[in-house]
Symmetry: C2
Subunit: 229 residues, 2 copies
Amino acid sequence: MSGIEIAVSTVIFALRHDTSTDRTSLWMPLVRRVREPYEGSWALPGGPVREDEDLSDTARRTLSETTALSPTYLEQLYTFGHVARAPQPVPGPRVISVVYWALVRPEEAERSIEDENVAWRAADDPPALAFDHSTIVEYALWRLRTKMEYSRIAQAFLGETFTLAQLRQVYEVVLQRTLDPANFRRQVEASGAVEPTGDYLVGGRHRPPKLYRHREASDLADNGPLTRL
Amino acid sequence: MSGIEIAVSTVIFALRHDTSTDRTSLWMPLVRRVREPYEGSWALPGGPVREDEDLSDTARRTLSETTALSPTYLEQLYTFGHVARAPQPVPGPRVISVVYWALVRPEEAERSIEDENVAWRAADDPPALAFDHSTIVEYALWRLRTKMEYSRIAQAFLGETFTLAQLRQVYEVVLQRTLDPANFRRQVEASGAVEPTGDYLVGGRHRPPKLYRHREASDLADNGPLTRL
């Protein structure tokens, strides 16, 4: 038996609209550590893998216990296992963390707990985090931005139906740049990633925008052969 | 201390030319298990993580010990941690495997050991493997094919310089379909992924083909913030 423990941590991203600044940005929930090491510091939700538990089940259980979130998009991201994972040496056994990431829709994020030990913070300007969790968040942001360029992952932030302006906003917030609406429309329509529902966004506008939905029935978190397991 | 052990396994892919059939295909080295469970079965190279060892170092050490390979392209692929990972229940503690994959160039593959306990086999038609290693190989093949569509990963199978015909052959072998040479040339030139060296392939041909090299100085296994660690 080796002296290495295995844990799961999860990075959760959601878009949040701040009504005071009228700005939408990428946010994530953090949990305050209630024991040493790093007692009182903010960290990613997670915990040790139980002997009878699949890795994704550990992710779901610890997310549910700490934040009450049960995200539809949950995917394994990367396993962090450097011998010295924390800026300061940590007492106790070495821990290897299998990191998952979850992208949640606005209505899912609203159901999250927020109290003195759970807080949502801006993902691109987080507080100092325990262990190597700041590196994990930086890596997750990089993966999200990279993956948005070649996959349909942006749709995971939206509900069943959405306008092209809403989809463009996801790209603009995550990539942190403004996109030309006409170019964006052409690219999305050419990609075939979404299809019109035939309905329009309800509202008092003169020309209500078209609603779209995800084109493919398949899971947005496409893991090929693993999805079929 | 949990009753879970952590190990690393590695999928290695290389292109091999079979002179008897004049066919090039994707091959991988397998090692024969010399102890229970699955004694005598073929499996991926790997072994337990030592307490003082980073995960990628376990991959490099176990590859070197079993196959004498030290690949330049080595990247973490996925962590397999289902509670029941093997078709048959396995005695002993539960094992979670962090799987790496390595893509090796022909001249690297030629330096590999081959003996009664190490054999290269066709990746798309492997023998039955121990544990869930058949699933792992299937997943690695799917990732390789998917990633070839949007990255420069194909270049990892080639040396420092190569012709466009050699690069096209990598795509054809991995994707298992024939590609139009003129279309392929246009797409590669438009992508900017390679650049001409100014030299030509040495040989007795009337019009020797141009040699190309990787465009970017960066590692082909781009892990963003992790590469800089």
